[in-house]
Symmetry: C2
Subunit: 172 residues, 2 copies
């Protein structure tokens, strides 16, 4: 399973156990040509993938607006920042400005380790890269120090909302 599939499964658990309402946004598609056959469903005949203008997931948990993205890296020593796009960073900054809780779930596939990295930490490295011609990745050791590791469980598979509880405690 990809990390996204694992998160989707965890969100289904959270929803059915009345813990939180968090969904993956559909993939944005530019539709060019649609066929409307008689007596059957419309068929999209030509369409293209559009770049998402926001993050992949949002929803509500404990009264808070939650917004995050899920990223996997094959890199063994660092998380490459090019996994994010400028507009995703901008979107998270906007959400935080209005009281939302934003973060990234990062999986180091080779290590089979998942970390929740809060958006403010991500922004520090992003800004350093942009402003000072700094490094284009976050060292694994920094992700491990700043982030919260999320260990696989049975139910939910990825209990990431426990790490979100910590973020909520920090701001409450």
């Amino acid at each position: 399973m990809t990390l996204e599939q694992e998160i989707n499964q965890s969100n289904t658990y959270y929803l059915s156990h009345d813990v939180a309402v968090i969904h993956k946004k559909p993939t944005p598609i530019q539709i060019v040509n649609v066929d409307y056959p008689k007596r059957s469903a419309a068929v999209i005949k030509e369409a293209y993938f559009k770049q998402a203008s926001t993050t992949d997931y949002n929803g509500v948990y404990r009264g808070f607006y939650i917004d995050f993205d899920v990223k996997e890296t094959q890199n063994k020593t660092a998380f490459p920042l090019h996994n994010f796009h400028q507009h995703q960073i901008d979107h998270m900054r906007q959400c935080i400005a209005h009281g939302g809780i934003c973060f990234a779930l990062i999986k180091f596939v080779f290590l089979d380790q998942i970390y929740l990295l809060k958006a403010s930490d991500l922004f520090s490295y992003w800004d350093a890269m942009e402003n000072d011609d700094g490094r284009k990745s976050i060292p694994l050791a920094d992700v491990q120090k700043l982030g919260t590791e999320i260990k696989y469980k049975i139910q939910p598979l990825i209990p990431y909302l426990s790490a979100v509880d910590q973020l909520i405690n920090e701001i409450s």
Copy 2:
């Protein structure tokens, strides 16, 4: 312009003026067949529209999770409840249970009038229809009494967040 287009334009205004971050979710699509031509973008060759499992819009405003749907009716005397699907009603109930603010923006096209109807009022009519074999629509007079009319302005075109302020005041 459709009401959706007008709301999208209003959301763009709200975003650019740092008032709220509210986006329309992309239309969910079931992709069946994709072509990956060399040296050009992937082309979706066969896909189908899926029924949305949630509402059309969500985001964050004044620290609150906001979730709503936009509906237009040509009906002159009532809002037909079949404009909603059961899973949209369920989704709004779930969001409210976790502290979200949910509502419908309903436009009576013939009257050129838009109302914000809070989800709890919508639920009353929905439940009456389901449980008591009650009427399958909300009379216009009831929408006018229970809802808040939103008059067109220049910027934003549909200042619906003023009506949301009232909902926030009620629960704060």
